[in-house]
Symmetry: C2
Subunit: 363 residues, 2 copies
């Protein structure tokens, strides 16, 4: 049997640094747990633009389509701010999401016990927090046509289109209900059905899908109220499902509740491939953090936990994912901290590779 | 000289209760400060639908156009959930905003000293918080065409259109810069220029307008990062300017940071009328709270402070607005609390009218 294939796209900013630590972890699983992967590497984002004049080459796109899973670091940076929209680093990531048809973006917002003090929220509001935001990732205003900047009369007009089909809503709703079934069986769907017709359709379809999941308690919330409730009492939620744009904003707010953005992974899943595995891309929630890039300060844990999500969702290795997550918790419990997690006095921060080594030691 | 005119639209849920307290305050200013208003009252939202089959009659719309200022309570409620989109309570409010052309929505998020403990955020993160969100209110995805639910192939498709012209962005940006000039001279503009062309135009135009306000320090932030930064360190902001939809969500998140939604007013301003006053509508940030409606539990302060914003922005009565705000702070400092502000042991809550009376006593 051949090994499963992993395509690694470190990207920009701190992407390469944190990915280097993930490669150590992957090697460890190959050597010690008999879980070997065929790893290849490619360019995405600004790094791809610098080399090829495009944020994602057709060759890399094709490799991603063939891979059993893709692991991405981060894209973007001020260096690319003045590039034309069509070749901005972000377009590389968006093309991957769209062409791989990764419609279900899983963004856990989880508060690690050892880090609860680190949140800007009161400890009792966030301690033990464990919610999962399911964000639609291939449609909505990110991709709808018409779009662009046109001339009209004497002025420019900026246009984007939110567009959701029933089947697009149906499939992401199903993935959220499936997740809720494996968790606390509570799902909250968020839109602006009081203002947007696309929100009305969203609510309709989610309500329809709910009939197939009678055990799941479904609720609906306007997205503005959702933002409030996430700040006020986030533990009221189990799974949240929402569209591409609301998901972008709400999942970032939710991530920040935990106080430790450097800790949070994400999975973007599509339909099953011939081998039964879903098309999948895993990436940390944090961005490319150009301000600290290249200094060995970045926290590799979000990227390491993204690999853990890959073990769980792509490779059916739940036990190995548990092992890796336990190792991360152990390092934290023992006081291991990268610079982003400092706060307590007198703790010397671990470097990016120091944290990677600590996780391996804990494994 | 005739008195300035005020149109009062209590609306639904707790709207009528909180507005009754504002009327007491208005009467007090007439009797004690020689500031009389010609007050008339009308229906909006579900209340208008129940009486007339539409959430806003043409007569009330016309009255609002003529009034020197409109004061609105709240609209909406589960009773109206199944109404057709075109007659939902919210359409009444949206019609007012659109036809009065109230493009600049001012939403202060201010943390009252006496209530800092009440936030879900740590006290040092929010104590002294005083930011102003300027939300574009007459355009964007709330009003753009085409919109609706259409049939395509075998399925329904929900469509909404984000559409911003240069002049729409220009005028709201100017109002935000003007505000920044009167505050700490810092303005942060939020969009998703990395994903949406309308966001690119937004950023362009705001940058252009900035040339007329060289004293204001302008920054740009992606809206998802904005949501994070509001949770992480809200005091980094002074004035924020953003579009209709992002403004809806971000201002609600910001409001919740203060821990006391029942305290927060808003002003929606348009172009100056013949008499020099801006077209204006004032309303609390909170909704109609149908769960507590009619029980005398609602906090009238947000609505009272909305009247205070009217004194300041419509009637040039900054000193009287200060007087009213000081009275509210005095009541809070002395421990006056409606039910939504409880938390401390052993405090008996004031009723809605009890709070209104306490503010009058403090005046
Ligand atoms: C980088 C950017 C295109 C992206 C998005 O807006 O989706 C990011 O914010 C995210 O949430 O993954
Ligand atoms: C009631 C609703 C239409 C409204 C909006 O979405 O603008 C409300 O949420 C607000 O923020 O004033």
């Amino acid at each position: 049997m051949t090994n499963p294939s992993l395509l690694i796209l470190p990207g920009d900013g701190i992407g390469p640094e944190v990915m280097a630590e993930v490669r150590k972890i992957i090697d460890w699983f190959g050597a010690k747990r008999d879980l070997a992967f065929d790893v290849s590497e490619g360019l995405v984002g600004g790094a791809a633009y610098d080399a090829h004049g495009t944020p994602l080459t057709d060759e890399t796109m094709e490799q991603a389509q063939q891979a059993d899973a893709v692991l991405l670091g981060a894209v973007g940076g001020p260096k690319y701010d003045d590039l034309d929209f069509s070749v901005k680093p972000e377009r590389g990531l968006l093309r991957l999401r769209k062409e791989m048809d990764l419609y279900s973006n899983l963004r856990p917002a989880q508060c690690f016990d050892a880090l609860a003090d680190f949140s800007s929220l009161k400890k009792d509001v966030v301690a033990g927090l464990d919610i999962m935001i399911v964000r639609e990732l291939t449609s909505g205003i990110y991709f709808g046509e018409p779009r662009g900047i046109i001339e009209e009369g004497n002025e420019r007009v900026g246009i984007n289109t939110q567009r959701y089909t029933e089947s697009e809503i149906d499939r992401v709703a199903r993935s959220a209900f499936e997740l809720a079934m494996r968790r606390d069986k509570k799902l909250c769907s968020m839109e602006k059905a009081n203002v947007m017709e696309s929100g009305i359709l969203w609510r309709d379809v989610v309500t329809e899908v709910a009939k197939d999941y009678p055990e799941v308690e479904l609720s609906h919330m306007y997205a503005d109220n959702g933002a409030m409730q996430l700040v006020r009492a986030p533990k009221q939620f189990d799974v949240i499902v929402t569209d591409n744009l609301f998901g972008d904003i709400l999942s970032d707010a939710a991530a920040m509740l935990t106080g430790s953005l450097g800790m949070l992974p994400s999975a973007s899943l599509g339909a099953p491939m011939a081998n039964g595995r879903p098309k999948a891309l895993y990436e940390p929630v944090h961005g490319s953090a150009p301000d600290i890039a290249g200094q060995g300060k970045a926290n590799p844990i979000a990227c390491i936990l993204s690999f853990s999500m890959a073990l769980r969702y792509s490779f059916d290795q739940g036990a190995e994912a548990d092992r890796l997550e336990a190792a991360v918790e152990k390092v934290l419990a023992e006081g291991g901290r990268t610079a982003d997690l400092l706060g307590e006095e007198g703790v010397t921060p671990l470097s990016t590779s120091g944290m990677g080594d600590a996780v391996i030691a804990a494994l």
